[in-house]
């Protein structure tokens, strides 16, 4: 289980004078759930964008299953990395089913001619796509809403739908950017189950999260990004015990909105410290 799916080497992203991501090396192995945490503005989303080709990294390379990826989003998805967005980016005026069907784009190839001629091949491909999409909707529990417009779904369901859309591209690695942001505790727990279920389908997961309990429960490994640099990486225990992490989170309070997120984090850290055995079964593979 140690074949690497994703290997980022020395990834650096500069915006003018600002270095948002600084020489990050990062690996995700097959079958792993890896957490990426860090204070707001640490560069986590920017790092995701570098991985998926939305940004062209100033330096460094990203490879998937051994091949270096070109920094073009559609080619990255084609290769097998799918993602969700921190601020939900569904196709708001398409139905739930259509959203997932768009996710199937890279796994189907019917072009304009076959759409116009409507041969048997086209019908078969459409039918199969729809079947696959419905399977995914059942998997996330939205099959009964297939004909609703995405914009009319409640927030939590929109996040789920975004995951289903990403999974429709049959990825080997799924990147989730704050999948529980704005969710209530029940929804968060449901998402936790969902992420495990996704891993059990053989898809490696890399997720950015602010909910510490969630991320430590789920992740086989956690990496901490602070000011664009990877500070620590290891199992939940290792990361929680690291003083620099505590300092990064608590020692240097950042301006903005420390309130809720931070309180939750402290609480989570305490809970974890009290009962370390409750954290998820990890592979115990510190790096």
């Amino acid at each position: 289980m140690t074949t690497p799916v994703l290997e980022a080497r020395d990834v650096t992203m500069r915006f003018g004078g600002l270095t948002a991501v600084r020489s990050v090396d990062f690996t995700v192995n097959a079958g792993e759930i890896v957490g990426l945490i860090g204070p707001n503005g640490a560069g986590k989303t920017t790092f995701f964008n570098c991985l998926t080709g939305l940004y062209v990294p100033t330096e460094g390379t990203v490879s998937y299953k051994g091949t270096v990826l070109p920094p073009k989003p559609h080619l990255v998805t084609q290769a097998g990395i799918a993602r969700t967005f921190q601020n939900i980016r569904l196709f708001a005026n398409m139905t739930v089913l259509e959203n997932v069907l768009v996710g199937r784009h890279t796994r189907t190839k019917e072009g304009l001619w076959s759409a116009l001629l409507r041969g048997p091949g086209f019908k078969k491909a459409e039918r199969e796509s729809e079947e696959r999409a419905m399977e995914l909707l059942e998997f996330i529990g939205l099959a009964h809403k297939r004909d609703h417009l995405a914009r009319n779904l409640p927030y939590g369901e929109q996040r789920k739908l975004e995951i289903a859309r990403a999974m429709a591209s049959e990825p080997g690695l799924l990147l989730l950017d704050e999948p529980t942001a704005g969710m209530n505790p029940q929804e968060t727990r449901a998402t936790e189950e969902l992420v495990f279920a996704i891993r059990d389908k053989g898809i490696a997961v890399l997720l950015i999260e602010h909910d510490m309990r969630f991320v430590f429960n789920l992740s086989d490994r956690v990496a901490v990004l602070v000011q664009g640099e990877k500070l620590v990486e290891g199992t939940a225990e290792v990361v929680q015990a690291d003083e620099r992490v505590v300092a990064a989170y608590l020692g240097e309070p950042f301006e903005g909105d420390p309130g809720e997120a931070e309180a939750a984090e402290v609480e989570a850290a305490e809970a974890a410290a009290e009962a370390p055995s409750t954290t998820s079964s990890t592979k115990g593979e510190a790096k």
Binding site: P73, H74, R89, A92, N93, M94, V102, T108, S114, R165
Partner: protein, 602 residues
């Protein structure tokens, strides 16, 4: 007028006051006014309204209505029908499923509008009210009665300020009870009847001989449709259409084919063929704008490329490559292909731009086409297009021995030159409709919509944004080019002037875009309807002349203010613009509950 309804009772009873009308009359009187006024309006059409036949349509004969009087008669009849339906007459209940006031009010207003328009037009054109015969005065008063009656009907929210009250009077109710399920053959019969009526109404509009009649026609049609809409009948009809898609499509084409057989004057077939060309091009543009969300301000250039290509290869003696005379299928393909190549050439560098930049660049390319064609006259540039003189004397088509230039007798009907081309154009439009619907409902169509919705998310889902946009652009161009090849033959000659960004007559890029937006982006029927309207308005309202552009501007602004999704709303768009009243989106529970309104009726 609201004062009377507002007077607060000092010893207010706890029960809410019974709803009252804006005009303080008892319900029985209101209904009587509606019915009596409707009948009187219809009857007044049989009187002489003016003394001279100088006013078009000859409104001088007692006993036989002429021109605009027929419109008043129709509106009066509609008012009467609805008044009877409001009385609960058996067999008319379907006209008023929600038993609301709005259809009554709007029908009454329609009759009032067309009658008063006529009376005012007579007075204005002939110089004073002295030109009105007593019949004219009677008609004016008679058409006012139903309006009074309609506003005397009790209305729930009356009395909360004039604006709210008036709004409440013409509002469509939120929920209208679902109709009973009807047998499929009944559904088809309804669609057939509606198609026939539609063809009749449309034909009447095209055949209007003078501007006043066309304006009156618009009044009657707009108010009648509005009334049907607020009665919930249009929703029911769209549910029928949705349940019988292919049948409706077949009926639509049957009606389109039937049109030239209803015409005795080839001039109207000429209007018909021009509407079809304009509508087909608008539908092509709808792929680019409505589906892929690319704002193309130079689209008419592709029509021009098709037209010029066909003109060059169809054997005109003035063609710079004269001697080449391809058969029509070949010149049509050549026109489409040439447009496609131009589409790719223009699209490849520009489609990497987003939003506004694309609009500006396409605007520029559109103008470059016209200016280049103007200059390729052998003096300022290579001799290709004869410059401003264009390419005249394009021979008529001859398909399988059928000469399009001559009149033919078919089954007792005479089809003139334009009718021939009209029928050819129906075929081309059928192809374009097929291409549009099939492309929209497929992997590539979904990726266009995805790009329009959120380009970043779409590329992150594996869509090669540039490539699918280029496909949309090229496909749209090819369809416009195809329509252009026919238009070259229809008009005998091609010249550069029509292919500009904006002008007072269609087609030009601004009108094409307006047809798409006005009719309803992302639908099939919308751009066709928009094109018909935008072609007919300048054609019929000659007296507006250069002011027609101003009129369009105002009309477009009003439309965008009150119905941004266009006349025919795409389901998505409607939901996008009107957060509330999302009829076809069931609430959390309604999936098990009875179906929402627009889904009902199937």
């Amino acid at each position: 007028m609201t004062e009377t309804t507002k007077t607060p009772a000092p010893d207010a009873t706890p029960a809410p006051p019974a709803p009252r009308g804006l005009v303080p009359l008892p319900l029985a009187a209101a209904r009587a006014l509606l019915l009596g006024g409707g009948i009187a309006t219809a009857a007044s059409a049989f009187l002489a309204w003016t003394w001279t036949s100088e006013f078009p349509g000859d409104l001088t004969i007692t006993g036989y209505p002429g021109g605009l009087q027929w419109l008043t008669f129709t509106a009066g009849l509609l008012t009467t029908l609805y008044a009877l339906a409001a009385y609960g007459i058996r067999g008319l209940g379907w006209l008023l499923p929600a038993r609301n006031n709005a259809p009554l009010v709007l029908n009454a207003l329609g009759g009032f509008a067309v009658t008063w328009f006529t009376v005012i037009a007579i007075s204005a054109e002939l110089g004073g009210v002295v030109n009105l015969e007593p019949g004219g005065w009677i008609a004016a008063v008679a058409s006012l009665l139903p309006v009074l009656g309609a506003f005397a009907l009790p209305q729930e929210h009356a009395g909360e300020g004039t604006k709210e009250t008036l709004k409440a009077y013409i509002a469509k109710p939120e929920r209208i009870a679902a109709p009973q399920a009807v047998a499929p053959w009944v559904q088809r019969a309804v669609i057939t009847v509606v198609t026939i009526i539609g063809l009749g109404v449309f034909t009447y509009g095209i055949d209007t001989e003078y501007g006043e009649l066309f304006v009156g026609y618009l009044f009657v049609v707009v108010f009648a449709l509005w009334a049907l809409h607020t009665a919930g009948l249009l929703d029911r009809f769209s549910a029928l259409v949705a349940a019988n898609r292919s049948f409706t499509l077949a009926m639509g084409f049957a009606a389109a084919i039937a049109f030239p057989f209803t015409q005795t004057d080839d001039h109207y077939a000429n209007i018909g063929v021009n509407i079809l060309i304009f509508g087909t091009v608008a539908l092509g543009l709808n792929i680019v704008v409505g589906l892929a969300g690319l704002l193309d301000l130079g689209y008419v250039a592709f029509l021009g490329v098709g037209a010029y290509t066909a003109a060059l290869v169809s054997g005109s003696e003035f063609s710079t490559i004269s001697g080449v005379h391809l058969p029509f299928w070949a010149s049509a393909l050549a026109g489409a292909a040439a447009s496609l190549v131009f589409g790719v050439l223009i699209g490849a560098p520009t489609l990497r731009l987003r939003g506004d930049y694309l609009a500006i660049v396409t605007l520029g390319f559109g103008e470059i086409f016209r200016i280049a064609v103007n200059n390729m006259d052998g003096q300022s540039g290579p001799d290709v297009t004869n410059g401003p003189n264009g390419i005249p004397s394009i021979p008529d088509l001859n398909l399988f021995g059928f000469n399009f230039g001559q009149a033919h007798d078919i089954g007792g009907f005479t089809l003139g030159r334009f009718a021939n081309y009209y029928l050819l154009m129906v075929l081309i439009m059928a192809i374009v409709v097929l291409v549009y619907t099939r492309a929209a409902d497929s992997r590539i169509g979904r990726s266009w919509i995805a790009i329009r919705e959120d380009e970043t998310a779409a590329t992150a889902m594996g869509i090669n944004g540039f490539r699918v946009k280029l496909v949309a652009f090229a496909l749209g161009a090819a369809l416009a080019g195809l329509a252009g090849t026919v238009s070259a033959h229809v008009t005998y000659s091609v010249v550069p002037t029509p292919y500009q960004f904006a002008g007072s007559t269609p087609p030009n890029s601004a009108f094409l875009l307006a047809a798409v937006v006005l009719g309803g982006m992302g639908t099939v029927a919308g751009p066709l309807l928009g094109a018909a309207l935008l072609y007919l308005l300048p054609e019929k309202l000659v007296f507006l002349q250069e002011k027609s552009l101003l009129a369009f501007g105002i009309a477009l602004i009003l439309l965008m203010r009150f119905r941004p999704e266009g006349i025919i709303a795409n389901r998505r768009r409607q939901l996008e613009f009107h957060e509330t009243g999302q009829l076809d989106v069931p609430k959390q529970t309604t999936l098990t509950d009875e179906p929402a309104v627009t889904k009902a009726g199937a």
